[in-house]
């Protein structure tokens, strides 16, 4: 059966080939699929993740700031979400 691995990459800019500034990994295969390093970014950019077999699920659209908030910062803007599908041998009722 198939399970998802999800990789969030936050990039330094809006282009998919800009550098990774933050990341999060969620493993629906419960460890049956390949893991990723945690001490350093798993990929240099979004494109590098695609070249390693990750499929892009969602990319952010550019949003104009609200009036009065043009020069403030808040969350990380450039959130790209990837998936990788893993064939697992378990029964799927993961702990």
């Amino acid at each position: 059966m198939i399970r998802q691995q999800i990789l969030y990459l936050w990039l330094g800019g809006g282009a998919l080939d800009t550098g990774v500034v933050a990341w999060a990994f969620h493993d629906g295969s419960n460890g049956e699929g390949p893991s990723l390093p945690v001490e350093e970014p798993p990929y240099r950019s979004g494109v590098a993740a695609m070249r390693d077999g990750w499929f892009l699920l969602q990319s952010p659209r550019s949003v104009a700031p609200k009036p009065g908030e043009e020069h403030y910062t808040n969350y990380l803007n450039h959130e790209f979400i990837f998936e990788r599908r893993i064939e697992v041998t378990g029964d799927g009722s993961l702990q």
Binding site: Y8, W10, L11, G12, G13, G14, T18, G19, V20, V21, A22, W23, A24, F25, V38, P41, H71, Y72, T73, N74, Y75, L76, N77, H78
Partner: protein, 300 residues
């Protein structure tokens, strides 16, 4: 290095504005660390409703710091150390308000860790700030539960738990360091408790303080005139390499394309701290204000 009277220097304050924290390794003497380890363990038991030898009254929120914990308590001695008092005074003034404190007692081999978060409700745009002291009374080895924190995150307008999705940020840190280390955080700094892979319990004392006076030039300003720049200190024109702006224009790699907006926030906070409404870093605020002034004059 702290100034002679134990208050912070202008450049140390600039570093706080840029990074959102200051760190002082092994600031607290050995003997006091030893006594604090015992006292904080008992305070943790008391706060948890367990049997405890900690007998002093627990301070209530809103109490002036000078009235919290009586003489004879190691916490009182800690707060009265000239080096600690100087840091507090520089950032939140003389006798700030006790907001709350907590002993984060993390047993050895704890596998729980927190999501990244910001404490309390902080999404305002005024420049005033609380500080949170993080004190470690014993050595903290790598992987032994040292607090994770994100330099340069303190001026972002986010909800307390809204940053929990960021498992890893380039440049984030996990505290490791010698006994007696004190860190002073801006209240907005993103942070999280970590797993403790060691066999040793980890103690961290956190104390939040609110200012009771404008936080304007409370530090040792002996070096102020020498390093405080005017708006013409512009990295694309004639930058100084010895000024406050040189500190405030430093951004984090995780800021990505937002770096210049972070610089603008640094400049805004420095205006508040110095009372200089014309202060700027790389001309961003001044340029906008000149346009607004021009339009205003045109419409008069």
């Amino acid at each position: 290095m702290p100034a002679a009277d134990h208050r912070l220097t202008t450049l140390e304050m600039a570093q706080f504005v840029t990074d959102g924290y200051l760190r002082f390794d092994a600031l607290i003497p050995y003997d006091l660390n030893r006594r604090l380890r015992k006292e904080l363990t008992q305070l943790a038991r008391r706060k948890a409703g367990m049997e405890s030898t900690f007998e002093a009254a627990l301070p209530q929120t809103g109490t002036p710091l000078s009235e919290c914990y009586p003489d004879g308590n190691a916490i009182r001695e800690f707060l009265d150390l000239p080096s600690v008092a100087g840091i507090i005074k520089s950032l939140v003034g003389t006798d700030p308000v006790f907001d709350h404190d907590w002993v984060h007692y993390l047993r050895g081999n704890t596998q729980h860790e927190q999501h990244l978060h910001v404490d309390a409700v902080i999404d305002t745009i005024d420049p005033t700030f609380d500080i949170q002291l993080f004190y470690f009374p014993h050595d903290v080895e790598p992987g032994a539960g040292g607090t994770r924190f994100v330099p340069g995150s303190h001026l972002r307008h986010v909800r307390a738990e809204g940053v929990g999705r960021y498992q890893h940020i380039v440049g984030d840190q996990r505290f490791e360091g010698p006994a007696g280390t004190l860190m002073a955080f801006h209240h907005g700094l993103w942070h999280a408790g970590q797993k403790n892979h060691s066999d040793r319990d980890r103690i961290m004392y956190k104390l939040r303080l609110n200012p009771r006076e404008p936080q304007v030039r409370l530090w040792n300003t002996d070096d102020f005139d020498e390093v405080h720049n005017d708006y013409r200190d512009h990295t694309f024109a004639h930058p100084r390499r010895d000024s406050v702006a040189e500190v405030l224009r430093r951004t984090q790699s995780w800021h990505g394309e937002d770096g210049r907006y972070e610089q603008m926030q640094h400049a805004r906070l420095w205006r508040y701290l110095t009372g200089d409404d014309n202060y700027d870093v790389d001309y961003y605020l001044t340029r906008l204000e000149a346009r607004a002034e021009m339009l205003s004059a045109d419409n008069a």
